[in-house]
């Protein structure tokens, strides 16, 4: 039976803070889900008119296109320093950085740790997919032991390239951060939990509580050379063993 459009009720829509700019992400990539969650959070908190997003270098370099709020494209690894500059210039702005693992946990190590240590009242979204996506699947600081990448074709050998860095655990050792958590997006249950965590991380900032970090385990089917469904299973079965989910700091 054909249904008249006029009889239909809209129960799910694009968040106002999410633009309709064309996505540049690959099929099965989790960046899209995460982008939507952030836009939805901005809507729910009613902060779009005072939010400034900081885009990284990497697959999320175009992040400034997808949010209907002010945005800055930062140099590789420096997003947390740029966020510091914006927030200090106007503490009433809501400032979030969106950074991949190469950006946040490798080339931006110093900026990432010290923004957290100063307890900057910002929200950091740290996307951990264990690989450099945009440049062609090279080893990330977060790559798993044995993980094959284009720069570890035999698999990551810890004797030569070290171990996967648990950056959120490092941040959690600091006294200033109020909220540090690791989330995942491989099924509906975890998407819901991640959504709650991101809302908390933004709410902390609105309430001037201080620095919040949400690490998100994300799938990169393209560079993992897996089907999207297998990439999700890989996070649930394998990645989670190295990167345990849950709150590391919750002083909110």
């Amino acid at each position: 039976m054909p249904v008249d459009v006029q009889d239909m009720q809209k129960i799910f829509a694009r968040p106002d803070s999410l633009t309709d700019a064309k996505s540049t992400y690959c099929p099965g990539c989790h960046h899209g889900i995460l982008t939507r969650i952030i836009a939805q959070t901005i809507d729910e908190l009613g902060i779009a008119e005072r939010t400034v997003g900081i885009a990284p270098v990497g697959c999320a370099v175009f992040a400034y296109r997808w949010y209907r709020c002010d945005a800055i494209q930062a140099a590789h690894g420096r997003a947390s320093a740029v966020a510091t500059g914006v927030k200090r210039a106007d503490p009433n702005l809501i400032v979030f950085s969106y950074q991949g693992d190469g950006d946040f946990a490798s080339i931006g190590t110093a900026e990432s740790i010290h923004a957290a240590n100063r307890g900057e009242n910002i929200t950091v979204i740290f996307v951990n997919n264990q690989v450099y996506g945009m440049t062609g699947g090279e080893m990330a600081p977060t790559s798993l032991v044995g993980q094959k990448t284009t720069t570890t074709p035999q698999g990551r050998d810890p004797k030569l390239f070290g171990y996967p860095i648990r950056f959120s655990e490092m941040i959690a050792q600091l006294e200033a951060p109020v909220y540090v958590t690791r989330q995942a997006l491989y099924d509906t249950k975890h998407i819901k939990e991640a959504t709650k965590a991101i809302k908390k991380a933004f709410t902390n900032q609105v309430e001037k509580k201080g620095y919040s970090l949400v690490e998100v385990l994300a799938a990169c089917p393209t560079n993992w050379k897996m089907k999207p469904i297998d990439a999700n299973i890989h996070i649930a079965k394998v990645v989670k063993k190295t990167y345990q989910l849950g709150d590391l700091v919750n002083r909110g």
């Binding site: 400034v52 709020c69 800055i72 420096r78 740029v82 702005l93």
Partner: protein, 351 residues
């Protein structure tokens, strides 16, 4: 009239920045600019403004990038090795058309060098320094009071042209004390609103600050906008000073600390009957090429003197071409040329 005080160059630059309405200052400690950082640490919080000692030079320049994006007047300062580390950020500031002031209290190089005065960062300051086709306005003060005046001007020019501006002074100017009449503070509220700033998209479309586009045609257009702005700056903002050039047969070209020493040399030479003049570039970029060229048309020899191996000398020769003899005398490593030595160079080349 402002107050008259005895202050160190570094303190004057800091105080002038405050009076120019600098609301956010970010820096990392390095000699010989430490007093600048320390003055800001004491005075910025007292005024309810932002002082952050950054974890690194990279962080400091990127905090400047953030604050500039948010639309406030902002500054960082450092010395040679630290300025090298900031180059990535300066390139981004230029590429994103952001106004900011960067102070370089130059010390001897390359590498760790030393902490003595030098002019060895001229190339880095005036020719780009970081990656990409860009320039900064570069101002070279010659005295402590002028360091204050040019700091005020740096903020004005940065805002007017949406560009990073560098104050290029050396360790001598940073450390030297002189009586200074400080400029009157500007009214921050009177500054025009920056319509492009990322200060919250309330009642307007979102503003985006970026130096990036993957489409070569679009990036070319972004570059052409920068180049057009550079031509405007070259046409309107060239500054220089001529001393005793009216009847001069020969002239020295020097900037900063060396120009100050050269003024003494002019007096010494004139006492001996040598008609020596001085041409002092104040804007190192844009370089006062036309004015120097004009001067060279009526004199036989232009001696460039620098505390470097001959960096500004390249711009002098480009400006003068074959019009006059263009010898060079330079010191390196933090050695300051004496008036006597410069005079003997003048005599040697004057024949």
């Amino acid at each position: 009239m402002g107050e008259r005080l005895l202050l160190r160059g570094n303190e004057v630059i800091a105080e002038a920045a405050i009076r120019a309405g600098c609301q956010c200052y970010f820096a990392y400690p390095i000699t010989p600019q430490a007093e600048l950082l320390q003055h800001m640490a004491v005075n910025m919080p007292r005024l309810g403004r932002t002082f952050v000692q950054a974890e690194s030079e990279l962080a400091a320049i990127n905090m400047v990038y953030g604050a500039a994006s948010a639309g406030v007047r902002t500054m960082t300062s450092s010395s040679s090795p630290g300025i090298s580390l900031k180059q990535e950020g300066i390139s981004y500031l230029a590429g994103s058309s952001l106004p900011a002031v960067i102070v370089n209290i130059v010390r001897g190089g390359p590498g760790l060098g030393d902490i003595a005065p030098s002019q060895c960062d001229y190339f880095q300051a005036t020719k780009g320094g970081g990656h990409g086709d860009y320039h900064m306005i570069v101002l070279g003060p010659s005295t402590v009071p002028e360091a204050g005046q040019l700091t005020m001007l740096a903020f004005e020019l940065a805002d007017r042209y949406c560009t990073p501006v560098m104050l290029l002074a050396d360790g001598m100017l940073g450390q030297m004390m002189e009586p200074v009449e400080l400029p009157k503070p500007i009214e921050i509220g009177s500054l025009p609103k920056k319509e492009w700033a990322t200060d919250g998209a309330k009642g307007r479309d979102p503003n985006i600050v970026l130096s990036f586009d993957l489409d070569p045609e679009v990036l070319k257009q972004m570059n052409l906008i920068l180049q057009k702005r550079y031509r405007q700056i070259e046409a309107k903002e060239v500054r220089y000073e001529e001393t005793a050039t009216g009847d001069a047969d020969i002239a020295i070209v020097a900037y900063g600390t060396v120009a100050r020493i050269a003024k003494t040399v002019v007096k010494m030479a004139r006492a001996e009957g040598i008609k020596l003049g001085l041409f002092r570039p104040i804007t190192l970029w844009p370089f006062p090429s036309q004015a120097l060229r004009k001067l060279s048309e009526k004199i036989a020899m232009v001696l460039t003197v620098e505390m470097s191996a001959g960096q500004m000398w390249e711009d002098v020769r480009l400006a003068i071409a074959e019009q006059a003899e263009t010898p060079f005398y330079g010191e390196m490593g933090g050695v300051i040329p004496t008036p006597q030595r410069i005079l003997s160079e003048v005599k040697k080349h004057a024949g």
